[in-house]
């Protein structure tokens, strides 16, 4: 059996309640941390684990904690990013609704490590029912003396606040999230200063993803070294993968990093393979923001090595032939999917979600959407395809936050790998605009 660090108990009936969670070993890590370890020792275990941020960027969590400024007399904050809005990603949603106490326990341990006495979980507003689940879990933990004043007699106090968003993808970007938490529009801040120095209310702040923080209970129980022994190389531990699209079994799966993409896609334990009678055409491995790759680069890298579910292997080949692990949003396309239509759809998303502060992003995402709309609806020209590449290049790297890059990469990669399909839309506008029409020339895996 593959190792499960986050979901080992997720199938136990009633695991969302305090009693069942506790009976299954819940909150023992919190007891161990608070009763037997100093905050610095907890940070040390996070560092040893090598666990990397699961929100998309993959920055080592322990190292981030080490950067937190600690000026005298100034409060410090921990903010959990539960905004989960990246298309293709629904793992935090799954984890919070299924086993909410795992996040609460992780939040208490992490807050203790960072010396925070008030911590926030910022949940996208649409998940109001999940907010209710978390608030119930917090009330249970408080009633059992695991939250509030003088936790387990240690003298450590912590209050946990669940904050709803209002519907805005950009609030997943950590500084936009902090603005939103202060009751403002979600406009990302210029950096520096980084949140570790000036974050929430201008105080030192750590922002981490739900899944990152949920790992802490296991890390404390088993030790950072044990965590680091799971996975492969610098991709330590396990990862929740949100699998969607044309597979037999869409859903959320916990995998050990380093599993082969082929096994993840085809084994009955995970995706169960492509839908019956269909063939793999393309993959977006880590949420809508990462490059799309064609079928022949899914199971093997350009060098002919097995492609693995790890930060390094998925990005092997860079933008030319690789993709990224990102947030773990694994979106599978079979031969019935029109790449032009999907690219237009994603562009519309980024245009809709741009906060509008930087002109390359605000105008560029609008242009890309317009041009892609034209191509998809049979009014495009060959010149439009190059125009898209040009606009994508001009956005990349020229904006305050990475949403600009996130909007540019899917377009640039779709054209890089599926240019013929775009050209077919120009040369065969009548055929291409029939309902459900798809270019037949794209290579698929049998």
């Amino acid at each position: 059996m593959a190792i499960k660090i986050l979901t080992e108990h997720s199938h136990i009936p009633g695991i969302e309640t305090f009693d069942v969670y506790r009976k299954n070993g819940g909150y023992t890590a919190l007891e161990k941390a608070i009763k037997t370890m100093s905050p610095e020792e907890v940070v040390e275990e996070a560092k040893k684990s090598g666990v990397r941020g699961r929100g998309g960027a993959g920055f080592p969590m322990g190292m981030k904690w080490g950067f937190l400024a600690k000026p005298e007399g100034v409060p410090r904050y921990l903010v959990c990013n539960a905004d989960e809005s990246e298309p293709g990603t629904f793992k935090d949603h799954y984890l919070m609704k299924t086993i909410p106490h795992l996040l609460i326990e992780g939040m208490i341990i992490s807050s203790y490590a960072l010396g925070a006495n008030k911590s926030f979980i910022y949940v996208r507003g649409e998940l109001m029912y999940v907010i209710q689940i978390l608030e119930k879990a917090i009330a249970e933990a408080t009633a059992n003396g695991l939250l509030g004043n003088n936790i387990l007699g240690s003298g450590y106090d912590l209050e946990l606040v669940v904050q709803p968003g209002g519907g805005a993808y950009i609030c997943g970007e950590e500084t936009a999230l902090l603005e939103s938490l202060e009751g403002k529009r979600g406009n990302p801040r210029n950096k520096p200063p980084f949140p570790a120095v000036k974050g929430l209310y201008q105080s030192p702040t750590v922002v981490n993803n739900v899944e990152s923080i949920a790992n802490m209970a296991w890390i404390i129980n088993h030790g950072g070294e044990a965590y680091a022994s799971v996975g492969i190389g610098r991709s330590t531990g396990t990862k929740l993968i949100s699998a969607s699209g044309h597979i037999k079994k869409p859903g959320v799966y916990e995998i050990e990093l380093g599993l082969s993409v082929e096994e993840f896609m085809n084994s009955d334990e995970y995706c169960g393979g492509i839908r019956d009678g269909h063939h793999l055409k393309a993959l977006v491995a880590g949420g809508s923001s990462v490059p799309i790759i064609p079928a022949h680069l899914v199971y093997k890298t350009a060098n002919g090595e097995d492609r693995l579910m790890s930060y390094e292997s998925l990005s092997d080949g860079g933008f030319a032939t690789g993709t990224m692990l990102g947030s773990g949003g694994f979106i599978v396309f079979d031969e019935t999917a029109c790449i032009v239509r999907n690219t237009w759809n994603f562009s519309r998303f980024y245009h809709h979600e741009s906060c509008g502060q930087c002109s390359p992003c605000r105008e560029g995402t609008g242009w890309m959407e317009k041009v892609l709309h034209r191509l998809e609806h049979g009014h495009g020209s060959m010149h439009d395809i190059d125009l898209l590449v040009d606009v994508a290049k001009k956005i990349e790297g020229n904006t305050i936050c990475p949403l600009g890059d996130a909007a540019a990469w899917p377009v640039a990669s779709a054209i890089r790998h599926f240019r013929e399909e775009f050209e077919w839309h120009v040369s065969h506008p009548k055929e291409a605009t029939l309902p459900g029409a798809v270019y037949k020339g794209a290579a698929v895996l049998a």
Partner: protein
């Protein structure tokens, strides 16, 4: 359309809740309560009129403009009256792979309205939204806090029948 005059006040229960929310934040940071309080207001009135937003500004001791600029930024807030049930339908890529476009056509046909419109009986408003973080369980829409997942034409029919009763 909503029956509650937007000049009316927050209910006493919700006012108590507002106080409780404000107390969550450090002294002087009551503006942080804005999003949760706007959700509370929308729960009461169904949408956010300028009178309602002015009330919120007063409760939080901030300027009305600070409320307007936030309410207009976030897509969950309705700035026009809406029907009794607002159907927020995911239109993003992964849901489309799961067949969302066809089901959406059916939903529009069945209600006889398009995106952004409300049925003449005031029962349903249709709104397209971006990814709801339920991609593997698509097609999906939500009505208030409830998610309706793995939608098919038949499922849509039975949900609408149920809500029309």
């Amino acid at each position: 359309m909503t029956e509650i005059p937007t000049t009316s006040a927050f209910t006493p229960e919700r006012l108590a809740k507002v106080k409780e929310i404000i107390a969550r934040y450090p002294e002087g940071r009551q503006k942080s309560a804005l999003l949760p309080v706007l959700h509370l207001a929308q729960e009461q009135w169904g949408w956010l009129s300028s009178e309602v937003m002015d009330q919120v500004a007063e409760l939080l001791s901030i300027e009305p403009i600070e409320v307007y600029e936030v309410a207009t930024f976030y897509t969950m807030f309705h700035l026009q009256p809406v029907g009794k049930h607002v159907i927020e339908y995911c239109r993003t890529g992964p849901c489309c792979l799961m067949g969302a476009e066809g089901v959406y056509d059916h939903l529009q046909a069945r209600l006889g309205i398009k995106t952004g419109q409300t049925t003449p009986d005031g029962l349903f408003t249709l709104k397209e939204v971006e990814c709801l973080a339920a991609c593997g369980w698509g097609p999906v829409f939500q009505i208030r806090e409830k998610y309706y997942m793995n939608l098919t034409n038949e499922k849509v029919d039975s949900i609408l029948d149920e809500l029309s009763k």
